[in-house]
Subunit: 214 residues, 2 copies
């Protein structure tokens, strides 16, 4: 693919296309017009066409989109045709929940190790994935090719652990800690701030109530 | 406050301001200039001024922002000065993780009940919050004032359960299911799609590799 800057907004919509196309496949749909897809996804057909044109289109005039082909192509753009090995640092309840998501594996994300500081967890495993102690992190990363580290640890330890990971060559962090990690620019950080999300919900409730006098 | 449309982008940045201002309070900082805040948050000072001007400013020329005051005001805009009662539907590992987040309560979100279909969980509780069976949902909602329902159930049941909640008057759903809920317009839905987030990370890894020939 040519090097060209794709906007963040487009990128953040791609997983949603991928998800809807998967649903269509499950429902036995083989092709779909941008109009029908737009109704399903509650976006305009022109937005869909514009978004996909960033990557060369994929549609055919008068035929619409081949669902399976389009999903495969979007999957390639998202890098889902490659394998991504992952660690989860912090086996509290959220780390536990992530470790239990077998569906990540279907998309190429394989959890290879779980790490925690709690000695009571030493030797335990989740879905066959061993729980290791934090002092073994550097050794583990030398022996295994790991691309992504998911951080589900308290905010107070987030930066220190992130630094250790970066020193070992980790270039991608899936950050669930309640802080932004200000890391070197070549480290990719994708944050999921659950509290931020809940606060957005609360904002929308409050605004709705004010507007409707409830 | 006047009725005026605040852009989604501004709204999604408010929790982040709230978070940083909390960190500043913890660090003993009493006031901060928009320049210093901008460096910390890695956004431009003019963006900060613009964002906050949507709500009337809060800053004083030559003084900067009073950290505590600004945080309180942003908290009010986000509705954090009000109490929001919440249910969690689905006590799998993610529901369990959410139920364990005691920090939500600090911001006014109180989990009042947990619901599941698994009879083995009947009568159990997490942090003193009882786990109820789904057949008791309607009765519970009659007896309790609940504003938000967090959905951590399989996609296959998401729409049916959401419909039941809406019929009982629930107007806000925090959606963790792997699907968008197409609900009536007066129901506020805030979705956290973990797979989408992981796919965005994967996209950025893939693009970075292509650009740097790794």
């Amino acid at each position: 693919m040519e090097e060209k800057e794709i906007s963040k907004a487009v990128i953040s919509r791609l997983p949603r296309y991928y998800r809807y196309l998967g649903d269509l496949i499950d429902a036995g749909v083989e092709r779909i017009s941008s109009n029908d897809l737009s109704q399903k996804m509650r976006v305009t057909a022109s937005q869909i066409r514009q978004d996909l044109n960033n990557f060369g289109g994929f549609g055919q005039q008068g035929y619409g989109y081949n669902v399976k082909y389009l999903r495969t192509e979007i999957g390639k753009i998202l890098g889902l045709n490659q394998k991504h090995n992952m660690l989860i640092i912090g086996v509290g309840s959220l780390g536990h929940a992530l470790a239990n998501y077998s569906s990540f594996e279907k998309h190429g994300f394989a959890v290879k190790g779980l790490f925690d500081v709690n000695p009571a967890l030493k030797g335990a495993s989740i879905r066959g994935i061993p729980i290791c102690m934090m002092e073994d992190l550097e050794g583990f990363l030398q022996d295994h090719e790991i691309e992504i580290a998911a951080l589900t640890i308290p905010k107070s330890q987030a930066l220190e652990v992130a630094d250790r990971l970066v020193k070992c060559g980790i270039k991608a962090i899936w950050n669930f800690t309640h802080t932004d990690l200000n890391l070197p620019e070549d480290v990719i950080v994708e944050s999921v701030h659950l509290s931020d999300s809940l606060m957005k919900l609360s904002y929308n409730i409050t605004t709705y109530k004010e507007e409707h006098g409830r």
